[in-house]
């Protein structure tokens, strides 16, 4: 046996020490992430409900929930809503964040202060963000409505209107999360070396060309990672919808996450809700893996 592997030796002592440091975390993580995930999966194979837990905890037809999901119009509609909301919101966030980052990239104190001030929407507790926009969308107390009224365009409540409800939420979501893109693009802008820019300037490139050909190349990977990150995060959106529209009017703003919430905590169809959650989890897992691949291998165009 190699000396290094001899029990009681320093190498062994060290390995044991590290294992002891790691063990509690692994145990806890196993317990609070893998076990619940497994339980979720198991529950998704049963028609478990609150009304009769003992009887409904059976596995005679494990795929019953999943089959039902395929036919569930409300579920499919929720996915469409989720995609609409995520796509529009993430796109707006990226554009706004990018634009602000470009505007604020400079050395003055005003810009530095602005960069910190613009972080506020992102760091507010999500419930406070929901609150702010609830106020803004409640005609009685909303300055928005009053301004529009004063300008001669009286509008009814945006969140009570099925046509505009989703856009109203998208606007609030964009407001909340544009600083994320802004932060990351700003960080990326810091890493662009001066030489290519100066060389291009000497060659006579104007600002738009500078941006299109040089800056964009450097920040494109960041934008992609940003977009993916925000996309995955957007699936978790809850406080905004809960507070602003509660999924309505009708089901117009009911995203998949919310639908699962209703199934679990309004109707108490645990089994079915677990199936919904499992599908979401699978999607998140895949997208996270994608992010991990991009973030780890393609970090920057150097």
């Amino acid at each position: 046996m190699s000396l290094a592997a001899r029990a009681g030796g320093w190498q062994q002592q060290r390995a044991r020490a590290y294992r002891r440091g790691l063990a509690p975390s692994l145990a806890v993580l196993l317990l609070i992430t893998l076990v619940p995930a497994a339980a979720l999966l198991v529950a998704s194979f049963t028609p478990l409900t609150l009304t009769d837990p003992a009887a409904s905890f059976r596995f005679d037809d494990p795929l019953v929930n999943y089959r039902q999901l395929l036919h569930d119009e409300r579920f499919i509609a929720s996915i469409v809503v989720q995609l609409k909301l995520s796509a529009s919101s993430v796109l707006l966030q990226l554009l706004t964040g990018l634009g602000l980052a470009l505007l604020l990239d400079g050395r003055s104190r005003l810009l530095a202060g602005a960069r910190t001030a613009f972080l506020i929407p992102m760091v507010l507790p999500p419930i406070v963000v929901a609150l702010i926009w609830k106020i803004l969308y409640t005609p009685d107390v909303s300055p928005l409505h009053r301004l529009l009224e004063a300008a001669g365009w009286p509008v009814r409540s945006l969140i009570a209107n099925p046509d505009t409800a989703l856009w109203a939420i998208a606007a609030a979501d964009t407001w909340q999360w544009f600083p994320f893109t802004m932060l990351m693009v700003l960080a990326a802008l810091q890493t662009i070396p001066d030489e290519p820019l100066e060389a291009a300037r000497l060659d006579g490139a104007n600002r738009w060309q500078l941006f299109r050909h040089i800056v964009l190349a450097y920040i494109r990977p960041v934008l992609v990672v940003c977009g993916l990150f925000r996309l995955i995060d957007s699936f978790k959106a809850f406080p905004l919808i809960y507070v602003l529209t509660n999924g309505g009017p009708g089901n117009v703003s009911e995203v998949t996450n919310f639908y699962g919430f209703i199934q679990a905590f309004n109707f108490s169809y645990w089994g079915y809700a677990s199936a919904i959650a499992t599908v979401m989890l699978a999607g998140v897992f895949f997208l996270s893996w994608l992010v991990g691949r991009l973030g780890w291998s393609d970090h920057g165009v150097r």
Partner: protein
């Protein structure tokens, strides 16, 4: 008894063998330098002695105890790192006393011993400072102080002077040597600078590719290198090695080396049949063993002249290659001059061209 013994040591990292069978004996109180080119494994050997790595095979002993895989803290050795590794968040005094504090030494003793070490190294004024407020040389001394305070059985130095400027390096060399004479603690000193090894060590171990090429007193390695590698490594400027063929003289019982250029160089007397006629050899002669001999010298063209003050180093073209000669006396030579250069036969070395080992 603080002797250190390394027996048949092997160590592999990620599938690459770094130490490939090393045997070294270090006597109590000796100052031994481990030298070699980068990658030869000298730092790894030091880390094995310190306990920061564990050997795959072999034995390490300190005094009478086997310490192959004993934890570093139980080995009673102290190490001075190349980048000093001072604790940034502690004062110099705390840095010095850290080891003693860990062993539960009473406060009063710690203070006394810290003060003693500080006095020896001239750190008295700096005890309350933090490492970031010290110069490179001061940090070096604190690193040494940390080792001294513990009064270990052996000091281990890992290229401690390589981060200092040249002048400071020379000064610290003397100080380290003086320290060793004062404390007489067994010292293992790793360096890539053979001048440091030559001036400081009682014995030198030359390493290459994880193996010991030669170990012995500095002058022993200088005068009788065991192979071409050691010959070329020890001594600055390096020994000149000229390829040729060993041949017996037509008259008399001596031999000479015929270079590819047709030049006949005087060979030293070889005992017995140390080498046969016709063997391809490397003819080694140190720069200071060239002389200007109008009678026997062969014409060499001066390429570069480097006066260093005490000596003059001259690069010349001889026997189809560049050689370096070192003259004590002032010579007035200019590039392009032709001079009669002659190596002293008695001081020449012969090495087998194929295997590199010494002949005779």
């Amino acid at each position: 008894m603080a002797s250190i013994t390394l027996r048949k040591l092997h160590k592999t990292f990620d599938g690459t063998p770094i130490i490939r069978g090393v045997d070294i004996d270090i006597r109590d109180g000796e100052f031994v330098a481990l030298v070699g080119p980068s990658g030869c494994g000298k730092s790894t050997l030091l880390r094995l002695i310190a306990g920061l790595e564990t050997p795959d095979q072999g034995e390490i002993s300190l005094g009478r105890h086997r310490i192959d895989d004993v934890a570093p803290r139980d080995r009673d050795v102290a190490m001075v790192f190349q980048n000093y590794a001072l604790y940034p968040h502690m004062t110099v005094a705390d840095n010095l006393g850290f080891g003693l504090k860990l062993r539960g030494t009473p406060r009063a003793d710690i203070d006394r011993r810290v003060r003693e070490a500080a006095d020896i190294l001239g750190l008295g004024e700096l005890l309350q400072r933090h490492p970031r407020a010290l110069s490179g040389g001061q940090r070096q001394r604190v690193a040494m102080g940390r080792a001294i305070v513990r009064q270990p059985q052996a000091f281990l130095f890992d290229e401690p002077l390589s981060n200092l400027d040249a002048k400071l390096r020379v000064q610290m060399r003397t100080e380290i040597r003086a320290l060793h004479q004062r404390l007489a603690t067994t010292t293992v000193y790793v360096t890539h600078d053979q001048v440091e090894a030559m001036t400081m060590a009682d014995r030198i171990v030359v390493l290459k590719d994880g193996k010991v090429e030669q170990q012995g007193a500095p002058l022993e390695l200088y005068d009788r290198p065991r192979n071409a590698f050691v010959a070329g490594f020890i001594g600055s400027p390096a020994m000149n090695l000229i390829p040729g063929r060993l041949q017996r003289d037509e008259r008399g019982g001596g031999s000479h080396v015929l270079t590819d250029d047709g030049l006949r160089l005087p060979a030293p007397l070889l005992a017995g049949n140390a080498a046969t006629h016709g063997t391809r050899v490397l003819y080694g002669t140190r720069p200071e063993h060239f002389s200007l001999d109008a009678a026997r010298g062969s014409s060499a063209e001066v390429i570069v002249v480097e006066p260093t003050g005490s000596e003059t180093h001259v690069a010349l073209r001889l026997a189809g290659q560049q050689v370096i000669a070192a003259f004590r006396e002032r010579v007035s030579l200019r590039p392009g001059d032709r001079v009669p250069l002659w190596p002293q036969a008695a001081q020449a070395h012969l090495f087998d061209a194929a295997g590199g080992h010494r002949l005779g």
